[in-house]
């Protein structure tokens, strides 16, 4: 059901872990729907993301999207990191099964939440960045069958 890339990122996740005194930390998702993602960013003085680590409670797709998201934002400026959308993460993973698309949304939210934390701490504004939602599943409705 998963692409080879998803399986690779699940089996060999990149950048698992924590960053002590991180420039920004964001936790999104909720245990109710079974996915929690935490993203740590280490951002240097010129606003470049030097290091990115994650911890995820969730399914195979959740782990793989977190792993891919960390790869994609590493080395980017905070503004460039805004281009790492859920679509970009999905494309980089050669797609996800339809029921797993919300995992990629979670990855995007996690990056944004960590950037938000960084922006708040440093009193800066990042264009297009909104405060993180408290619950990623808000607005989603269960399908009728």
């Amino acid at each position: 059901m998963y692409s080879e890339k998803v399986m690779d990122h699940f089996q060999n996740p990149r950048n698992v872990g924590e960053i002590e005194d991180a420039s920004g930390v964001g936790t999104v998702g909720n245990a109710k729907c079974g996915d929690i993602m935490r993203m740590y960013l280490d951002i240097d003085d010129s606003g470049i993301i030097q290091e990115c680590k994650f911890k995820t409670f969730g399914c195979g797709a959740a782990v793989a999207t977190s792993s891919m998201a960390t790869e994609l934002v590493k080395g980017k400026t905070v503004q460039e990191a805004m281009t790492v959308t859920n679509k970009a993460v999905m494309e980089a993973l050669d797609g996800l099964p339809p029921v797993k698309v919300h995992c990629s949304l979670l990855a995007e939210e996690a990056i944004h939440a960590a950037l938000w934390d960084y922006a708040q701490k440093n009193g800066i504004q990042i264009e297009g960045l909104k405060p993180p939602k408290s619950d990623i599943s808000e607005g989603e409705e269960e399908e009728e069958y």
Binding site: F10, A31, G34, M37, K55, G58, C59, E143
Partner: protein, 393 residues
């Protein structure tokens, strides 16, 4: 093909070689339609009769009370919808439980949309319904009680005999979904006061696509599939003779092996449960510790999510299942695990392993070792575990 350690026997079982062998002649040699007059058709007719008698015998029922269907879901649908229709003049209330299979729950929801009222009984922490709740739920309009014999996820065996007694006292029909229990544990339709019982072939080493509904003589339920006169005019359609023969053979084997199977499986199951609970911290057993199916073990591992565990097990050739949302296709974890009172985040970390007579101790040891490795890996990347450890310090 790759060799697997197959611990998902509640999902389906391997068709026994003896079953396949018994079925084969009914494809290419004895292929006649059982409704014909010539000798070739008689082979089929006789085979169907024999299979029906074997099944009836295991339940203590009469052969003419066994109606072949395409499987458990059809049997459940038939039992509920046709009873509802036939007894509508008497009342419109049905009692079931919150932990039934979706074949029952979704049928009940359908009936609710069509003017019926359904009470979904709560269960206790082990997944057993409370008889007091059942008694209280009974109304003058109650026409049917449908409670599963044993739960497919957590393996808990319901107090079927007591439920049957209560139903009988009140003159209410009692249906039980015995898909997981039939052929695994002894069932007597008379002693347990069962009026209707659903079962499926592929859960007991028979073929897929065949099952039956036991309907006690005198219960007036209508035809579900209209057409020819097969199955005493109650279930039309040319009989699936090879599958019926296969089911008969599977039941014959289940009967012959039941005692040994129960002993072997429960012994290994208890060994598995003990090792996991002892060696994997922050783990709980789901379901009744004693009154459970001999082959069922169901755990919740804290701080991890079931699907990722299943993938790690699959990488080592181990087949199991989970009640996490990610495996159900919705955002909610298993309704059974929620009904026994587990919070969502715990329910997401469930693993069900269902054994078979062929399962070995070596396999169980390998599985437990793999679970331990996987747990270390998943917990080390879990933010929930990180928070938990930090709180402890």
């Amino acid at each position: 093909m790759k060799k697997f350690i197959y611990l998902d026997n509640a999902a389906t079982t391997k068709t026994s070689p003896e079953v396949v062998e018994a079925m084969l002649p009914y494809f290419t040699e004895k292929f006649g339609n059982a409704s014909t007059v010539y000798e070739l058709g008689n082979y089929s007719k006789d085979a169907i009769t024999k299979s029906r008698e074997t099944i009836a015998d295991l339940l203590g029922a009469k052969a003419e009370e066994i109606y072949f269907t395409a499987g458990g879901s059809e049997s459940d649908n038939w039992a509920l919808k046709a009873t509802a229709e036939a007894y509508r003049s008497k009342g419109n209330h049905i009692i079931t439980s919150k932990i039934e299979h979706h074949a029952i729950l979704h049928t009940c929801e359908y009936l609710e949309k069509n003017g019926f009222e359904v009470t979904y009984l709560d269960v206790d922490e082990f997944g057993r319904i409370r008889l007091e709740d059942l008694k209280k739920a009974i109304r003058p309009t109650t026409i049917l009680i449908s409670i599963m014999f044993a739960n497919n996820e957590i393996g808990t065996i319901e107090p079927v005999r007591e439920i049957g007694e209560i139903a009988k006292e009140h003159g209410i029909l009692f249906h039980t979904d015995a898909v997981q229990a039939f052929g695994q544990v002894p069932i007597s339709v008379d002693d347990d006061h069962i009026d209707m019982l659903s079962a499926s072939g592929h859960k007991l080493h028979g073929p897929k696509g065949i099952g039956f509904l036991y309907i006690r003589k005198g219960v007036k339920i209508r035809s579900f599939i209209h057409g020819g006169a097969q199955e005493r005019k109650r279930r039309a359609g040319t009989e699936n003779v090879p599958a019926i023969v296969g089911l008969g053979k599977a039941v014959e084997l289940a009967k012959a092996n039941m005692e040994t199977k129960i002993r072997q499986e429960s012994e290994l199951r208890d060994y598995l449960i003990q090792r996991v609970l002892k060696e994997v911290p922050y783990t709980r057993l789901n379901g009744d510790p004693k009154k459970r199916l001999p082959n069922n073990a169901n755990f919740c591992f804290q701080f991890i999510e079931g699907e990722s565990l299943l993938i790690l097990l699959d990488m080592k050739g181990i087949c199991g299942s989970s009640g996490s949302a990610c495996t159900s296709g919705s955002l909610d974890p298993s309704h059974v695990l929620l009904a026994i009172g587990l919070p969502h985040e715990i329910a997401h970390g469930s693993l069900r392993l269902t054994l078979d007579m062929e399962t070995t101790k070596e396999e169980i040891d390998f599985v437990v070792d793999t679970i331990k490795e996987s747990m270390d890996r998943l917990r080390s990347m879990s933010p929930l575990y990180e928070d938990f450890i930090k709180k402890q310090q």
